[in-house]
């Protein structure tokens, strides 16, 4: 414990000495979130902050030092997170490299792949995206048809991926391809790492109903990928993909919550619905706010409980499906409630007569409709719970 406290003091001093002052201020623009990669120019302080943190491996605090990570124990990483929170420091780097493909490579990747990719993820040099869904394979992901044919030391890829988040801003993609068309659909899928600069890759953003384009279509025409870029075994990709999906679902549950949402809801209601005796004037709106906040509290407690269970050495259950299902529906209810509270002020698309934060509520509401579709629809999560937890028959 004494060591940990000494570590804490060191960490605090180092953070105070090395973090640019502007990195302690709240994010004003989502573009200031650092996802790394070669295609995006970040403000100077964002780049500096990334560089000093990556130098110590503290963008990936618990990864082994030999792959560029911080080599910290879980307790030390917790101390680092706590000290960063105390100084209100921004996360120096985020993205699918740190949260998805990196952890998978640590577990399942060959030594060669780890040495090649993990240090670049830690330094934020390479931004990753995920190539799972296809036009004909949404909920039924395992029916995917993107073809990879072996040619010497390479696979030749042909097909189309869709809903590839930020593919236009990414450098590499982890991708599911079909390597065996004879086998059962789950048994012919391989997990590959693909350079998006490779000849034959075309990326096109998709405009959503919210007006933004976080997703892309990715077309593959005779794209050559070295066989050594297979993660796990050829035809053994489905299990890896499923494990990653579980991870993604937990992330989705957490990611849409903005920390000041409770105060924002109440402040919006006071402004647009009015006050009476210090309380939000409309009892129905009040009840709906309380419902959303209390549901959020119960979901947060359930996330805590899952972590406590894991810490106590209990096997993880299918919690990720619960979190995905409930977290996304809750986010939709929250966004819809905000729209109800705004009333006519929620009708703006852009320009005169609407404040920026009102326009943001409208866009966020539209965006939230995708939450129950991406990463496995709500219906798929319900199927998973019915089958794996309740053991209901097929």
């Amino acid at each position: 414990m004494a060591d940990l406290e000494a570590f804490r003091a060191d960490v605090r001093r180092w953070l105070q000495d090395n973090a640019p002052a502007s990195m302690s201020t709240p994010l004003t623009n989502p573009d200031d979130v650092c996802w790394g990669g070669r295609k995006t120019k970040y403000p100077d302080d964002v780049r500096r902050w990334l560089a000093v943190m990556a130098e110590r491996g503290w963008t990936a605090p618990t990864w082994p030092r030999e792959y560029g990570g911080g080599g910290l124990s879980k307790q030390e990483a917790k101390v680092l997170a706590e000290e960063m929170a105390k100084l209100h420091l921004r996360t120096p780097l985020t993205g699918f490299g740190l949260s998805m493909i990196g952890p998978l490579l640590l577990q399942e990747g060959s030594e060669e792949l780890k040495r090649e990719h993990l240090p670049k993820i830690v330094r934020g040099e390479i931004r990753w995206c995920q190539g799972y869904s296809e036009p004909g394979s949404g909920s039924d992901l395992a029916s995917l048809q993107t073809k990879a044919v072996r040619d010497g030391d390479e696979f030749v890829l042909n097909g189309q991926k869709v809903w590839t988040s930020y593919a236009d801003k990414s450098d590499w993609m982890f991708i599911l391809v079909r390597t065996d068309f004879e086998a059962a659909k789950h048994a012919g899928i391989t997990f590959l790492l693909m350079d998006l600069e490779a000849p034959g890759v075309t990326v096109r953003p998709i405009k959503l109903i919210s007006g933004s384009s976080p997703f892309c279509e990715t077309f593959l025409s005779d794209v050559r990928v070295p066989v050594r870029n297979v993660v796990g075994k050829v035809n053994g990709g489905w299990l890896l993909a499923k494990a990653l999906l579980g991870h993604e679902r937990t992330m989705i549950a957490d990611v849409f919550k903005e920390r000041d949402d409770a105060r924002r809801l109440v402040a919006l209601a006071r402004k647009h619905v009015g006050e009476s005796g210090g309380r939000v004037a409309d009892a129905v709106v009040r009840d709906r706010i309380a419902q959303v906040e209390m549901d959020q509290a119960c979901l947060d407690l359930t996330l805590d409980r899952a972590r406590d269970n894991a810490k106590a050495g209990h096997k993880p259950g299918p919690e990720s499906s619960i979190f995905k299902l409930y977290g996304t529906e809750l986010n939709q209810r929250r966004r819809a409630l905000m729209m109800d509270i705004l009333g006519p002020q929620g009708l703006g698309w852009e320009g005169a007569g609407f404040e920026d934060r009102e326009l943001k509520v409208t866009r966020d509401w539209l965006r939230s409709r995708g939450n129950t579709i991406e990463g496995g629809t709500s219906e798929i999560q319900l199927n998973i719970i019915a089958k794996r937890v309740l053991g209901l028959p097929d």
């Binding site: 309380a290 209390m294 119960c298 407690l301 805590d304 406590d308 269970n309 619960i322 053991g391 209901l392």
Partner: protein, 381 residues
Amino acid sequence: MDLVLSEEQELLQQTAREFVAGRSSLKRLRGLREGDDDGFSRALWQEMGRLGWLGIVLPVEHGGLGLGYRDLMVVMEELGRGLMPEPMLASVLLGANALLLGGTPAQQADHLPAVAAGERLLALAFQETAGRYRPHHVTTCAKAAGTGWLVSGEKAHVLDGHVADHLLVAARTAGETDDAQGVTLFLVPRDTAGVTIERQSRVDGRNAAIVRLQDVRVARDAVVGEVDRGSALLGRVLDRATTALTAEMLGSMLAAFEMTVDYLKTRLQFGVLIGTFQALKHRAARMFVETELARSAVMHAHRVLDEGRDDAAIARAASLAKARCSDAFLLIGDEAVQMHGGIGMTDEHDIGFFLKRARAAAVTFGDAAHHRDRIAALDGY
């Protein structure tokens, strides 16, 4: 404190589960419902006393085990699985807690060991017919008379009031009907002149009574807590009882849910198990999610009590759990009957007992909407 059970709590859970499965059955409840005796088993109650369960949260010096609310939670959940009607809430969580939190050392020494042993029953007469969920709605009045008090009025929904040896009565000693200030708690032996107790018959088969007091003379030392300041004490007692009730509700909703899932796996229609239908699978999965969220809220509320947090934190956590469990148990009660189909509507089948209990438990100590409004008020909106 983490949201996991300790090894000791897991053992206690196992013991309680076996006890409930071996000693109580829904068949027993039918017998109690039809009979005109006490509506619960005194023999079983005393056995629970010998196991120490009635004194889990009572201090060792008063015959309790001196354990925490999370230990109590484990037992309450199992009692809930069996829908057991024994007077845990009335005698221990409401009655004994009022004395523990507000009573004099003499009152505590007199009553708590007897309650923990299962030899004496208490009840808390705090509600009145027109009060809905406002515990400050007190028209029953107590006037100073000589060295003591004269109490008159009518209390309703007094849980297990029909068998209580002593009643804790909330009466107004100052102020207007709905004022928080001016409420005082009095400890009244049931055989005091002027007390009449009429048993109520309730939808869930649980036991409650109307308590009428006509010029009931009580001594000065019958006051529990401070004169005129009973509301705060009442609030602290009710938050503890509410928390324990949510554990019981969790057990009951889980039992109803498991019965329903079993039914989906055994009932054939159109030549297949009805559990193969996606329309039912998805609803069953949503019920499961509700039970998981309810469990988190229930464990949290008990943890907050064990951590000795302030009254506002305890109130918040109790309301969070109660709103959640009220909604979840009602949903599961409704869905359980629906998924059982015609047989679920018959008195012969057990599932209806859970639907009825869901409704009664949801209303006890305030329904979901009441607790949401309470949280909104606590959070300043």
